[in-house]
Amino acid sequence: MHTSSTLTEHTADRGRAGHVPGLAHHFDDLAQQRQAGTLGMWAFLITEVMFFGGMFTAYAYYRYRYPAAFAAGSAHLDVTLGTINTAVLIGSSLTMVLAVHAAQLGRNRDIVRFFLMTIGLGLVFLVIKAFEYGHKWRDHLVPGRHFRWHGDGGGGPVQLFYSLYFAMTGMHALHMVIGMALIGVLAVMAGRGRFTPQNHNAVENIGLYWHFVDVIWIFLFPLLYLLGVHT
């Protein structure tokens, strides 16, 4: 769903601009260009909120309607792995914000370092997630024909819980993968020393994006994992 155009728009147009390096031809100055970039990213994040919002609405509805089934389904998720993953993702947000900080100072080497750390933590998250998915598959908890449920709450609604679990975490993971790919591209650009204190819009925008993905997880974690533990 994401394109690098949002991020590289301004920078890639260089050369056509007259005297200011990195200024696209249709902007008056770097400040305007930067304002547009930031605003564009925020507007995009609004659409992302609504995109996940549809799933959160479905979740809220079915949970409201089948509380027991949702609690029962949730009890089969691994809280330990979920908690670790939350910490990992928060860690990646920290490294990301440090990368942005480095960009503000124009330290391209640091940007690369923190970007790589962010990607690394993202990978850790995905690997853990993959293990969890694997367990679910083994336990016949992946919705569809394969699904078996012998616990409480009734098979149908529990399957709804798992459908939403996979849809939401899957969509979240997809966002991470795309984010990591974009970070990779920007890391290469940083490696070539492309960012300056005046012009590092792309880094800031990928930062916004990554934090947004983190925020989604901050809500997914309690809603999916913690709902079943106290019952």
């Binding site: 728009e9 605003l39 564009g40 479905a58 919705p143 849809a167």
Partner: protein, 543 residues
């Protein structure tokens, strides 16, 4: 009307003649060229949707199922709705005129993200190809509303590729909206404060808000149907305890506001045209501007009016009905302000203005019948009948397409540098108006008499009105062919337009026609309010 002899093409460099290669079009990041790409693409889909419509009307001329099979009929109205809504009317005004004019009207050199703009066209085209694929493979038969569980479980047509296509155009629409929003916020020419913006810009601003906040929700709804269908993972599946009405909520959360994505930009066109052709400042500028924003916001609170008999709770239906009536008020404000703008104007009957007259009248009828539907007790009877079909065609064909045609004629000289034939254009407008009313007015009566929509065959007592409707559709079809002919003709033989054939006031008219790639030689500085027609000494109009 003066007909100039064949004249040589303009010699200065403009966005059309800078380069001629196909690649220079397909890889262009110039908003004007992208607008042309969109124009060609959506015209194709309009023709496609129109052909489906003609087949529908031919079949319905008799009560019996004779022309096509039921399965084919169902595919026809589905593909008609999908092509017209998602691939013609939603991109329609914004992607063509918005793309072309938003930067020019605010005095910018391009949209904020030109590459994103091109990308959005590619995504749109890809989405179109997916949907076309599903049509070529045999079609979809779910209705444009894709209600579950029919779409997710029972339909055995090509739902998946159609859904994917719609998902993609939604994404393309998001990119367009995002581009407008950012452009309008950050790139206005010096002096162009918010309340000096043309109303066309206000309309597009409001539209962008709707696109950004609404489209993602239908995207996820479609994704969920998609995975339900592909992986047999039920999210709306009643067999698992899922609720099909949840799908309807998610669908209409977008698709009601989407009707304002269609109408708001065309209201923007009307504001531009009505002032130019009555040589008057718009009446109640701030009210017209703010009503666009209000429509956008209130439009998000009323989606449940499509679900009064769906099993939605009574309490919610009451709330949705109540709120629906509020949307009528800003729409009324617009209609009355346009009318008041005519008062004591200096009105000319050029083709764009004829379309404006058509718009105002037909939108009023369409909108007022919307109130019948928003009315709880009455909707129980007319829901899912031809009354609804008539309502929305009055607004979408009688309203949006009228304004679209008006805009096309108005900005044709700007886009192509040529004047079209005014006489033919007036004739075309007239035929369209007559054909339109004959096609769709009888459908109001049919609807109240109880003829359900999406019916391939029907009881005989409905035939008279159906025949009238089918006859009207023929006239309407001819009406749409006429402009295609003379507009194409004008490309080569039309008189040269000059920068400002209408003596219009928008910034887009202060540059040559067709405009140069960078739009303006120097960034314009805005000092006047928009529509300052009254300061003109005498009117000089080309025709």
């Amino acid at each position: 009307m003066t007909t100039l002899p064949y004249s040589s093409p303009p010699t200065e460099l403009n966005y059309l003649n800078v380069r001629y290669t196909l690649a220079s079009w397909l890889l262009s990041v110039d908003h004007k060229r992208i607008a042309i790409l969109y124009l060609l693409t959506i015209t194709f889909f309009f023709a496609l949707g129109g052909i489906f419509a003609v087949l529908i009307r031919m079949d319905l001329a008799t009560p019996s199922p004779d022309l096509v099979t039921s399965e084919t009929y169902n595919k026809l109205f589905t593909m008609h709705g999908v092509a017209m809504v998602f691939f013609f009317l939603i991109p329609g005004v914004p992607a063509v005129f918005g793309n072309f004019l938003v930067p020019m009207m605010i005095g910018a050199r391009d949209l904020a993200f030109p590459r994103l703009n091109l990308l959005s066209w590619y995504i749109f085209a890809t989405g179109g190809l997916f949907t076309l694929t599903s049509m070529v493979l045999g079609g979809v038969d779910t209705g444009w509303t894709f209600y579950t569980p029919y779409s997710s479980t029972y339909a055995n047509t090509h739902v998946i590729s159609a859904a994917l296509g719609i998902f993609l155009t939604g994404f393309s629409s998001i990119l367009t909206g995002l581009n407008f929003l950012v452009t309008i916020h950050t790139m206005r020419a010096p002096g162009m404060t918010w309340f000096k913006m043309p109303l066309f810009i206000w309309a597009h601003y409001a539209t962008s808000i709707i696109i950004l906040l609404g489209t993602p929700v239908v995207a996820i709804a479609i994704v969920l149907v998609f995975i339900e269908r592909v992986f047999r993972i039920g999210i709306f599946d009643p067999a698992l305890g899922g609720d099909p009405i949840l799908f309807q909520h998610l669908f209409w959360f977008y698709s009601h506001p989407a009707v304002y994505i269609m109408i708001l930009p065309s209201m923007g066109i009307v504001s531009e045209l009505v002032t130019c052709f009555s040589r008057r400042r718009i009446f109640g500028y701030k009210f017209v501007a703010m009503s666009s924003v209000l429509i956008a916001v209130i439009g998000f609170l009323v989606w449940g009016h499509h679900m009064f008999v769906s099993g939605q709770g009574m309490y919610a239906s009451l709330v949705f009905s109540y709120l629906s009536f509020f949307v009528a008020i800003p729409s009324a404000v617009k209609v009355f302000n346009w009318t008041a703008t005519l008062y004591k104007g200096s009105i000319s009957y050029h083709a764009p203005m004829l379309y404006v007259f058509g718009f105002v009248g037909l939108f009023t009828i369409g909108g007022l019948t919307g109130l019948f539907l928003a009315n709880l007790g009455l909707d129980v009877h007319v829901h899912d009948t031809y009354f609804v079909v008539a309502h929305f065609h009055y607004i979408m064909v009688g309203g949006v397409i009228m304004a679209y045609m008006g805009g096309l004629h108005f900005w044709w000289p700007k886009m192509t540098g040529r004047l079209y034939s005014e006489g033919w254009a007036r004739l075309g407008a007239l035929i369209i108006f007559v054909g339109f009313n004959l096609t769709f007015f009888p459908q109001f009566l049919l609807g109240y008499l109880g003829m359900p929509r999406r019916y391939h065959y029907y009881p005989e007592e409905f035939q008279v009105l159906n025949v009238m409707s089918s006859a009207g559709a023929t006239i309407l079809g001819v009406g749409y062919l006429i402009p295609i002919v003379y507009l194409v003709w004008s490309l080569r033989w039309g008189p040269v337009a000059g920068p400002n054939p209408w003596g219009a006031k928008g910034l887009e008219w202060q540059t040559s026609s067709p405009p140069p790639t960078e739009n303006f030689e120097t960034t314009p500085v805005v000092t006047e309010e928009p529509y300052a027609y009254e300061e003109d000494a005498e009117v000089a109009v080309a025709h």
